[in-house]
């Protein structure tokens, strides 16, 4: 097992390298560059942009550009952004990763506290009114596009009722301590709910189906036959077994949440990694795209590795050799 984990960890490195080559090639294959068409002011001589491209090394062959990038990354330098002139990529990501992280955690928290109890209840009383209600809500959540739910939420809770802030991650600079924490929390509520909607829906469905499966399995029937109460059957055996795949899924979710919040972050002008990624793609800000990718790649690979390890712990029949 440990050998397996170490081997998998070692495989990370070539995989990440392949990933960066692939993404670098892809993004270079797309027409456009960080300078052309960026500032369209007829007073600026196009010659100026040509000189800037030359200075940034954008006219070098792709493999040279890639090599320059890789050698710098090896030394821990992700370079400077082309668009946010004069700013280090690591600094740019650094100031946003926290926000994305809070949003991710908050969303997961909402997802879990809503979806798991409802999912369990639905499974305990399948085809009951609550089950149907939850099902409908679940699919409603799946069927409503996020940006749309976000806009409705802003309209109702921010503009009409004035309960919650709708934009950004804090209300003013200079807050500290508890005040800052509460303020940030307030700003998380609407984007978190929006982002969590689809997740909640599918986890709820998922939990329901897991619990149903476990309840029908032989060992639960055996436990029941031995005279255990429903309650202890549910909590002692069912939940533990049903939770394991959920945790596996949550492993995936971390990577997804890091990258996936593009639209929600946009609607709420929440400064996180998602919007940075989207605008970097539009602007061909190669160093930022590459760094975000590398980071996401690492987290997703790690998530997958954890998932595989969980699988073998849960089901010892699965062998890795």
């Amino acid at each position: 097992m440990y050998k397996y984990i170490i081997r998998r960890l070692l495989i990370f490195i070539p995989m990440l390298i392949v990933l960066t080559i692939f993404v670098f090639g892809l993004i270079q294959a797309a027409p456009g560059d960080p300078i052309t068409g960026k500032n369209f002011d007829p007073n600026i001589d196009p010659e100026v942009f040509e000189r800037q491209k030359e200075a940034l090394g954008l006219n070098d062959p792709i493999h040279v550009q890639y090599w320059n990038w890789v050698t710098k990354v090896m030394q821990g330098d992700f370079g400077e952004s082309y668009i946010f002139k004069g700013r280090d990529v690591s600094e740019l990501i650094g100031e946003r990763i926290g926000n994305t992280f809070y949003l991710g955690i908050f969303t997961l928290f909402i997802t879990i506290i809503v979806s798991i109890p409802i999912g369990i209840y639905s499974a305990k009383k399948p085809y009951s009114i609550l089950d149907y209600g939850a099902t409908t809500f679940g699919f409603f959540g799946l069927a409503v596009p996020n940006f749309f739910f976000g806009l409705v939420a802003i309209y109702v809770f921010s503009i009409k009722l004035g309960w919650l802030p709708s934009q950004g991650s804090v209300s003013s600079p200079g807050l500290t301590g508890l005040e800052l924490f509460l303020d940030k929390l307030q700003h998380l509520i609407l984007p978190g709910l929006t982002l969590g909607l689809a997740g909640t829906a599918s986890y709820m469905r998922f939990m329901r189906s897991e619990v149903l499966d476990v309840l029908a399995s032989d060992y639960i029937r055996t436990a029941r036959a031995k005279g255990m109460t429903n309650r202890s059957v549910l909590y002692k055996h069912t939940l533990r077994n049903a939770m394991i795949p959920i945790i596996t899924l949550l492993g995936f979710e971390v990577g997804i949440l890091l990258s996936g919040a593009v639209i929600t972050e946009g609607v709420f002008q929440y400064p996180g990694i998602g919007t940075l990624f989207l605008s970097s793609i539009g602007n061909r800000d190669y160093p930022v795209i590459m760094a975000i990718n590398l980071m996401l790649g690492f987290f997703i690979l790690l998530g997958n590795l954890l998932a595989d390890i969980f699988y073998s712990i849960v089901d010892p029949r699965i062998r890795y050799d």
Binding site: L19, A143, L195, S202, D213, D218, I263, L296
Partner: protein, 305 residues
């Protein structure tokens, strides 16, 4: 929806049951399915939707793509029961014709994902070892590959994005989740007595996969397939919102909803976004009810008898 692939459902069925000779598992399943009222209703409503979008030209005389400067954002009228959009196009005809595209996108992306996912998942899960490792690392790579970058590059290089290309992008980026799940199910099936038995009497790999593995994995496959289809319809709308979807003027339910980008339309023109929203919701609900029905029907342990 967000720009992520729907996390697929892993129902992780552990104890397989050998199909009962005489009464084919599909017949049992069909009978069970018929007992599920919601699923049956789902089938009929979905059929209705499919009929409506198929015969769209009979239901509306307006073109879904023709702009009209004089009708921009007009409220509903006798001639245009759902009003007109920001380019003066008829909302009703966009709803009907858009349904074609959305359903085709959802359905074909689902089919392609299934084909890739089930094939690779079967190979990986059945044979294990080196092949398994290669496929799973490839799956990891695909999961890591940013969907947005892929979309953008393909759009930029190909100049013309049509439904086919869009479907291909989705399928190429979303098979890994399904593959992982199928593989996981197979890994636990591999060591079961009946499989070992089949191997011992010299059944071919192909036969074992088709006769024993796939029927036992049908539950997770079906549930995932229905969820995927719903998700793809939504993904298209989200991509439209940030400008990477199926380009205008081709109508889809997704890009119709993404027209509701401002509070003004949200507030003043519900006729513009409620119908496509309801259409997506109804379709997704139907597909999922059908999916639930199928799951219960194929899952021998289901509580519902």
């Amino acid at each position: 929806m967000e720009l992520k692939q729907q996390e697929t459902m892993d129902t992780n069925i552990e104890v397989p049951i050998k199909p009962d000779k005489g009464n084919s598992p599909f017949r049992i399943a069909f009978k069970r399915f018929l007992k599920n009222k919601l699923a049956v209703i789902g089938v009929f409503v979905l059929l209705g939707i499919i009929l409506a979008v198929t015969f769209a030209p009979l239901l509306t005389e307006h073109s879904p793509t023709k702009s009209n400067l004089l009708l921009i954002e007009r409220p509903p009228s006798e001639d245009h029961p759902l009003g007109n959009d920001s380019s003066g196009r008829d909302n009703l005809s966009r709803l009907l014709y858009g349904g074609r595209i959305s359903l085709i996108v959802g359905f074909s992306a689902m089919i392609f994902t299934l084909i890739i996912g089930v094939t690779l998942g079967s190979i990986a899960g059945y044979y294990g070892g080196k092949i398994d490792a290669i496929i799973m690392r490839a799956a990891d790579m695909m999961l890591v590959l940013p969907f947005l970058v892929l979309c953008l590059t393909i759009v930029a290089i190909l100049e013309r994005v049509n439904v086919g290309i869009f479907v291909a992008i989705i399928a190429i980026t979303s098979w890994p989740n399904l593959t992982r799940i199928i593989r996981g199910t197979y890994l636990s099936l591999r060591e079961q007595e009946f499989v070992l038995g089949a191997k011992a009497i010299g059944a071919s790999d192909f036969r074992i996969i088709f006769k024993h593995f796939i029927p036992n994995a049908i539950g997770p496959i079906v549930v995932n397939a229905t969820l995927m289809m719903a998700t793809y319809i939504i993904i298209e709308s989200g991509l439209s919102f940030i400008g990477f979807g199926i380009p205008q003027p081709t109508p889809t339910w997704g890009n119709m909803i993404s027209e509701a980008q401002s509070l003004r339309i949200l507030r003043n023109s519900p006729e513009a976004w409620i119908p496509p929203g309801l259409a997506i919701l109804t379709t997704v609900l139907c597909i999922n009810f059908i999916g639930d029905g199928l799951r219960d029907a194929f899952d021998p342990k289901s509580n519902r008898r």
